[in-house]
């Protein structure tokens, strides 16, 4: 998994990953990019995405003029040394076609006043081509609104009446409720426009930490895999709802948001009952994440939790699988996490879950195979002794069966690639066992079928050759073949015959089966093999009988799966 950028710090976490029923995502840094970007503007006609509109361009050009960044227009990142907000503004302005170079050369800056505690705005003074000085102002919307007496209306300045002021204040609140960082932009004619409160309002810019691309599909993939997706955020409920809608977090049904006020004060049972029905935990402080993880666990869920901050550590530790972001994550978070996503991309968790489920599936296959084949050997020995027949196999032959034809295909089964539907089925129940009573019964029946094939081989062989090494050779060959072919039965699982499921190729299984088969076929032709195994060169007829009986055993076991499927 290393190559997908997943670092597993605790080995058994891989298996637990396959059982995950609920994944809690920390919004900031996990679902979002953890950097600011310009997402909205408001130039007086409602919230809009920034575009090439002339009014948008004028707004953003002025915002960039009033930038605290030391701009290098020719650089790839023209505001590399500035804060995230400033960089986002410059980037946003460039994206809608504002020419930074022209901006700086035609109207060079004469003076710049930064913000202070009493003046939450910045003022840039520049000289135009006609020598007249203009101001570009950017800052907190309420404060900047107080400096304005007019509002820009497509280049012209109109007086700012009370109704207009109220509308602008409401626009600011509306942006704030969306969880945006909001700045107002204004321009002024003449150097004294700020002091005289004669600025002209241009509009609002809203910045946010955007969602990572592809998150909606990733959330859908987790849900398809039977894992509920939960978002944990410090945002208020309305903002959180808007994000959840964007992510389609609830898969189309109404989104349930819990704004718990004080989670610690809720009693544990109540919180567990609520948590099990919640899509979004809003207004959560980092220290409350632990309570959320525990509540989900109290509700009986197997919980994965993502996080990156020091504050997330307790929750990451408490979760069944704690997932830390590798790139931006703190050392503390990484240290307690079970899984570290080096690429910071939660989509990698999909692979991890698939891997976890595949590992369990493969353990299941190998166990299924080993139990059935061993039972078949016991069956052969017990049945022939009960029937008063001579021992069908020598001790060395039994050892050979156990060491080679059992073990090699099991190794092949252990590296079976994940099934195509591994992420399209619900997680395995936590209390499920490898060898349930029903499974054991099926293994017993499969073992009996193989036993029957071997005994039939023995019967045919004794008929043809008497109780001779030749007969034992045929019995052994039949059983080895039946067992090797059974590897394919075990590979297909219990639910459908092997020909109905399309599976990804598993060359290792083919190699182990063919290799063992070749060994079994070649040994009788080598003196050392004959001496060691006590076998003889089989006739073509014997080989045919062994092949037919081995094939029949596989067929019988697969047909039984069909019957189970239809009943």
């Amino acid at each position: 998994m290393r190559r997908q950028g997943i670092l597993v710090r605790r080995l058994d976490a891989v298996e637990t990953l396959g059982e995950i029923e609920t994944i809690c995502f920390d919004k900031t840094g996990t679902l979002t990019e953890n950097r600011m970007a310009l997402t909205h503007v408001d130039v007086g006609d409602g919230l809009a995405e920034p575009c090439g509109d002339a009014r948008h361009r004028r707004l953003l050009a002025t915002a960039v003029r009033a930038s605290e960044a030391h701009l290098r227009p020719d650089a790839a990142d023209p505001a590399a040394d500035a804060s995230g907000t400033e960089r986002a503004l410059v980037e946003g302005a460039r994206a809608v076609g504002v020419d930074l170079e022209q901006l700086l050369t035609t109207e060079p800056r004469v003076d710049f006043t930064g913000r202070s505690e009493t003046t939450p705005w910045v003022v840039s003074r520049q000289r135009g081509t006609d020598g007249a000085e203009t101001l570009a102002v950017k800052g907190g919307p309420k404060a900047v609104l107080g400096l304005c007496d007019r509002v820009d209306d497509d280049g012209a300045a109109r007086p700012l009446d009370d109704a207009r002021r109220d509308a602008l204040a409401r626009a600011n609140e509306a942006m704030g409720r969306r969880g945006l960082r909001v700045l107002a932009v204004a321009r002024g004619d003449g150097p004294a426009a700020v002091d005289e409160r004669r600025l002209i309002w241009l509009g609002l810019v809203g910045l946010a930490d955007p969602l990572r691309p592809g998150m909606e599909a990733t959330m859908a993939a987790f849900r398809r895999a039977g894992a509920a997706t939960i978002m944990i955020t410090g945002d208020q409920s309305g903002t959180a709802y808007a994000v959840a809608e964007q992510l389609d977090l609830a898969g189309g049904r109404p989104v349930r948001v819990l704004d718990a006020g004080d989670i610690a004060k809720l009693d544990r049972e109540t919180l567990a009952a609520l948590a099990a029905r919640t899509d979004v935990f809003a207004r959560v402080s980092p220290s409350e994440k632990l309570a959320i993880v525990q509540a989900l666990q109290d509700a009986g869920r197997v919980v994965a939790m993502t996080g990156d901050g020091i504050n997330d550590s307790p929750a990451l530790k408490a979760a069944d699988v704690g997932v830390a972001m590798g790139k931006d994550g703190t050392h503390a978070a990484r240290a307690v996490a079970d899984v570290v996503l080096e690429s910071d991309d939660v989509a990698a968790l999909e692979d991890a879950i698939a891997e976890g489920r595949a590992i369990y599936d493969n353990i299941q296959r190998a166990v299924d195979f080993l139990v059935a084949t061993n039972l078949s050997e016991i069956g052969v020995s017990v049945a022939s002794s009960l029937a008063g027949l001579p021992p069908p196999l020598t001790p060395v032959q039994l050892l050979w069966l156990n060491l080679v034809s059992d073990v090699a295909p099991a190794l092949g089964l252990a590296v079976e690639p994940p099934a195509a539907d591994v992420l399209a089925r619900p997680p395995r129940a936590r209390d499920s066992v490898l060898l349930s009573r029903a499974r054991l019964a099926r293994r017993g029946r499969e073992g009996l079928v193989m036993t029957a094939a071997a005994l039939a081989g023995q019967l045919v062989a004794t008929r043809r050759h008497g109780a001779t090494p030749r007969a034992r050779t045929l019995t052994l060959s039949t059983l080895v073949l039946a067992q090797l072919l059974h590897a394919y039965s075990a590979r297909g699982g219990d639910d459908a015959p092997l020909w109905s499921a399309r599976r990804r190729p598993n060359p290792a299984l083919h190699a182990t089966v063919l290799g063992t088969l070749a060994l079994q076929a070649v040994l009788p032709f080598l003196p050392v093999g004959r001496r060691f195994l006590g076998v003889v060169r089989p006739s073509a007829g014997d080989a045919l009988v062994a092949a037919a009986l081995g094939g029949a055993s596989l067929l019988a076991n697969e047909l039984a799966k069909i019957r189970r499927e239809t009943t």
């Binding site: 919230l47 409401r170 509306a174 409720r177 969306r178 208020q236 409920s237 309305g238 903002t239 709802y241 808007a242 959840a244 809608e245 109404p254 989104v255 349930r256 948001v257 819990l258 704004d259 718990a260 006020g261 004080d262 989670i263 004060k265 809720l266 109540t270 609520l274 029905r277 919640t278 809003a282 207004r283």
Partner: protein, 387 residues
């Protein structure tokens, strides 16, 4: 002449969990309309164990902090530390969307183009028992409940919880209220049992109940019972003690059982919901009839059909107090009042910039209230009904 009988009406304070749910639901409607005058919204609220379950369905771009709205409403009705700190309340919000097409294009639409959208029969009532043209029992119950709430807020009765219930039983004789037969108040002492003394009940009686009853200008019956916590004091705790549900106090919202009312909740619905506006409209019409002197008691029944703007029937019952016969009065109402949903939203002040604040009217009767007089309590259109 009707024989003597007793009618009991109950009111609860704004802090009663059922009423708090109504207020929260209406605060959500108000907030959406503030942010987006054309928003469609419906909000329902359940309150249990100090957890607010708030289901909001809306067609609007507005993004609102519903948790904060719910806590604000809880604070507004008088809860606070130490009894109940609204900040501790958990709010479980279920956000759903309504079809965007349900939104109106603008406020000044042609009222004929806005059908009722629902099959509804609503009732309204008015009578001359009080100046507000409301039945006396519920009117008096509201006065007592208001007085209880005010006393709790001003801390005039130490320990009085803002969550209280007031019941008033009025004896009628000859069809008119004759005397106050009984009053019962249920009010918790949030200081708990330790500090509680009999003085608590006496203080409520002296400070709250008796002054409130004086307003009725009605004698107390010779054997009148004025009871405070007759079955023992309730446990304090408001929403932590008992549950609340939007729309469960319809008799409190309307006529206290003195007249019929429709079964659907009023609170939590936007002005375009005919099951809300028709109830106000029916009260408006009934009050106009009494105010115009056409009858002393009047019940108006309005029926709307999903696909039509105008009501499919306007029925009037004046209980043999009418100056004209009922059919004549009903005809005047149908002809002279504009009862189409969009017209009601506009004329009764339900929508638009000067609209009523629903949250402020959630308690003490959604009809019959004043200050400021809402559109459906205004009698300025009474002259339209005269000859």
């Amino acid at each position: 002449m009707r024989p003597s009988f007793v009618h009991t009406a109950e009111s609860v304070t704004a802090a009663h969990p059922d009423k708090l749910c109504d207020r929260i639901s209406d605060a959500v409607v108000d907030a959406y309309l503030d942010a987006d005058p054309l928003a469609r919204v419906s909000a329902e609220c359940v309150l249990a164990n100090g957890i607010i379950f708030l289901a909001a369905r809306f067609a609007s771009e507005a993004v609102l902090d519903l948790g904060e709205i719910a806590r604000r409403a809880t604070l507004d009705v008088g809860y606070g530390a130490p009894e109940l700190d609204p900040r501790q309340l958990s709010v479980m919000t279920t956000f759903g969307t309504l079809a965007a097409s349900s939104r109106l294009a603008r406020l000044d639409v042609d009222a004929d183009t806005v059908p009722a959208g629902q099959l509804v029969t609503a009732f309204g009532f008015a009578c001359d028992e009080t100046r507000a043209l409301m039945p006396l029992p519920i009117w008096l119950a509201h006065r007592v409940a208001r007085a209880l709430h005010a006393a709790a807020r001003d801390r005039r009765v130490p320990g009085l919880s803002p969550d209280a219930v007031a019941q008033v039983a009025i004896r009628y004789a000859g069809g008119a209220p004759a005397e106050i037969d009984a009053v019962a108040v249920e009010a918790a002492d949030w200081r708990g049992d330790g500090a509680r003394t009999r003085g608590f009940e006496d203080a409520i009686l002296a400070e709250v109940v008796r002054p409130a009853l004086a307003a009725a200008e009605l004698p107390l019956a010779r054997e009148a019972a004025l009871l405070v916590n007759p079955t023992g004091p309730p446990e304090p705790g408001g929403p932590f003690r008992h549950t609340g549900l939007t729309g469960r106090k319809l008799a409190v919202d309307t006529y206290g059982g003195s007249a019929r009312h429709a079964g659907s909740a009023l609170s939590g619905k936007d002005p375009w919901r005919i099951d809300r506006s028709a109830s106000y409209a029916a009260r408006w019409a009934a009050k106009l009839v009494v105010a115009a002197g056409l009858a002393r008691r009047c019940e108006v029944q309005l029926s709307y059909r999903t696909d039509r703007a105008r009501p499919t029937s306007v029925e009037v019952q004046t209980f043999a107090t009418g100056e004209r016969d009922d059919a004549d009065i009903a005809g005047r109402l149908a002809e002279r009042l504009d009862l189409r949903p969009a017209a009601l939203a506009r004329d009764l002040g339900l929508a638009g910039p000067a609209r009523v604040r629903f949250a402020e009217r959630a308690a003490y009767g959604q009809v019959g209230g004043g200050a400021p007089v809402p559109g459906w309590e205004s009698t300025s259109a009474a002259s339209r009904l005269s000859d």
